[in-house]
Structure formats: structure tokens, C-alpha cells
């Protein structure tokens, strides 16, 4: 698995440019294996997956995601009930305990990208900003794979 990008430097610079005590959390976050499926046009919502690891000693909470590719990005959770019926609901804030990894993966948590600003074309990539409680931010470069991709390797 190709570790897809997390520039601690970028994250720190962003943090510095924000208000002073805002560093909590984000510098201990490692994001791996980010990927998206290509979209068909812009009318359908897009999706992004990745793993988010907290290597620090304190819990961190993912409060918001932002990306230039979609006006309304939001973490959603797919759940399937006993009758085999799948549904999606906004997941709210995601708390990540020290040493814990949260996976955004098919059929579970995922970044749902609503109101796409442009088609997500296979082979391209875009930036997504993860915002943590305390104001720390991590910028992730998300490569766009095919519509039928099943994981970060395609």
C-alpha cells in the first residue's frame, strides 16, 4: 500500500497560520491509503476513503472535512440491518483514541462528497482537509481511481 501523503510540514504550517493554541491533535495524525472513485458527471455524490491513525497520547476528534471538489462534504456511515437493508446517515464527529486507527472504507464510514463542483476524473487527484477539534488540520491528496475500484490499489 502506497502511503498516500501526509505532509506534517503542511499540517504544521496550516496550524501556525491559525490561532495559537490550535495545535492539539493534528500533528499526531497519520492518514494512509486515501482514494476516491471517479464520478459520472456532477449530479451524483462522490466518495472518499482513507485510514486515519492517531499516534499521539491524547484522543483527537475529527470535526469537519473540507474540499474544493465538493460544496458539501460530510462523513457518513453505511449500516446494514438484520434484514439486509443498507442505509446511510451522517456520522457526526469521529473520536479517535490514542493509538487507534479509524478506517473510512467501503460499506462503513466514508467521506460523502455532495454537490460536486466538477466531475471526479479517473487519474486526477484533489485535496481534502481534515479538521480536528482544537483547530488542527491535515491536508490529504486523494487520488481518483476508476468507478469500479474496490480499494486504494484499484
Amino acid at each position: 500500500m502506497k502511503p498516500v501523503f501526509l505532509s506534517a510540514v503542511t499540517a504544521l504550517m496550516l496550524n501556525v497560520s491559525l490561532s495559537a493554541p490550535a495545535l492539539a491533535g493534528a500533528e499526531d495524525i497519520i492518514v494512509d491509503g486515501a482514494w476516491s472513485r471517479a464520478s459520472i458527471g456532477t449530479s451524483r455524490p462522490g466518495v472518499a476513503y482513507m485510514t486515519i491513525r492517531n499516534t499521539g497520547d491524547e484522543p483527537v476528534t475529527l470535526t469537519e472535512i473540507r474540499t474544493e471538489i465538493a460544496m458539501m462534504p460530510e462523513i457518513h456511515r453505511t449500516s446494514t440491518n438484520e434484514q439486509g437493508v443498507s442505509s446511510m446517515t451522517p456520522a457526526g464527529e469521529i473520536k479517535i483514541e490514542p493509538g487507534e486507527t479509524v478506517a473510512l472504507e467501503p460499506g462503513g464510514l466514508h467521506a460523502m462528497l455532495m454537490r460536486l463542483q466538477r466531475p471526479m476524473a479517473e487519474g486526477e487527484s484533489y485535496k481534502m482537509t481534515l479538521v480536528f477539534s482544537g483547530g488542527g488540520e491535515v491536508v490529504v491528496e486523494v487520488p481518483i481511481l476508476g468507478v469500479a475500484a474496490r480499494g486504494p490499489e484499484g
Binding site: R37, V47, T80, G84, V85, M88, V147, A148
Partner: protein, 207 residues
Amino acid sequence: MRRRRILSYGAAGLGALGLTLFVGWWRVDGPGAPVAVEQRPVDLTAMDFRLTDHEGNAVGPETLVGRASMVFFGFTFCPDVCPTTLGDISGWLDDLGAEAERMNVVFITVDPERDTVSAMKEYVGYFHPALRGWTGAPDEISRAAEGFRVIYEKVPVEGGYTMNHTAGVFLFNAEGRFVSTIDYHEPREFALPKIRRTLETDDGGQT
């Protein structure tokens, strides 16, 4: 004397048989039945609906009889479960190789409002070439869902709506009989053996 003994054995035997049948009924069809049993799709030969495939052909359950079939319900505006499942199905078909040509593989939309024939045509083109996309009038989709025991509902979200829906993949043999379901959260390595078993039930099972 001897005859009476045989009769009483016979009565006891009948009693035991009756009890066995009763227990069997209780557990399979009666109040003791697991809910899942009632949710099994009926056989394709017992279904009745008229839809249109992504190339504009009129299709129905009878279209599927004669070859083994794999059927999945979803919608093209679905960002997570549907492309994941259709990607999985495409992967299984790749693994099956030439055997995949012996199967019908159908994606039926639960969102006919947005999933027109042309939307289905564009969407299925991104997956395995064996995949067919079926859509149609809302009441015909509803009749199809009823036969497959599929549940779906429209859920409003900001700026539009999404669909909750049954996410299992249904397998039928060449005679149209329901064989098994690949559940969404079932380990994926169970899928191929199930599909192979469905293909095998063609042999000798032909009428």
C-alpha cells in the same frame, strides 16, 4: 393379538412421524421459523414484472430462466454500497473467467425516477461487460422488489434524496429457482463458491 401389536406400533410410528413433521413445520414455516426464511426471494418462475434493460429491450423474470442468474438491487446515485457491490461482482466475474458467460448478471434500480434507461446504460458500462441494468415504471420496480423480497425506501436528504435498500446479491439456478444470497457483510471469499455452486446446479437439474 399379533395384529393388534402391529397396529399399536403403527400408531406409535404415525404419532412420532406426526410430531417430527410438526416440529419441522414449527421450525421451518411456523412461528419458530427464522425471519430470514420468509425473506427469501420466490423463484423467478413465480415472479411477474415488466422492465426495460439498458439497451431498451423489454425484459422480465422469464428473461433470466435458462441460465444461472445473479441479481442485485441498488441505484446509480448510491456512492458507497452499490459501486462497491458492483465492483465486487465484476471481480467475481473476472475470477470465473469463461464460466461467467453462462450467467445472467442484473442490476435492478430502486430509483427509476433518476435511473432512466440511458442513465443505466452509462452506469453499467463502467463495470463488467456481462452486467445488465434494468429499470422501468415505479409500479413494475415495486412488483420486482416484491418477488425478490427486496425492501427499499426513499429518504430525503439536504438538496435531494437517497435510497435505503436491500443490499444482498441473489443467486438463482438455470431453472429460475432461488439458490442463495451473498449478504453484504459476508466475507467476500464465500462468494465465489456460492456462485460456482449455483452454476453447478444446472447440471442434472435441467428439466
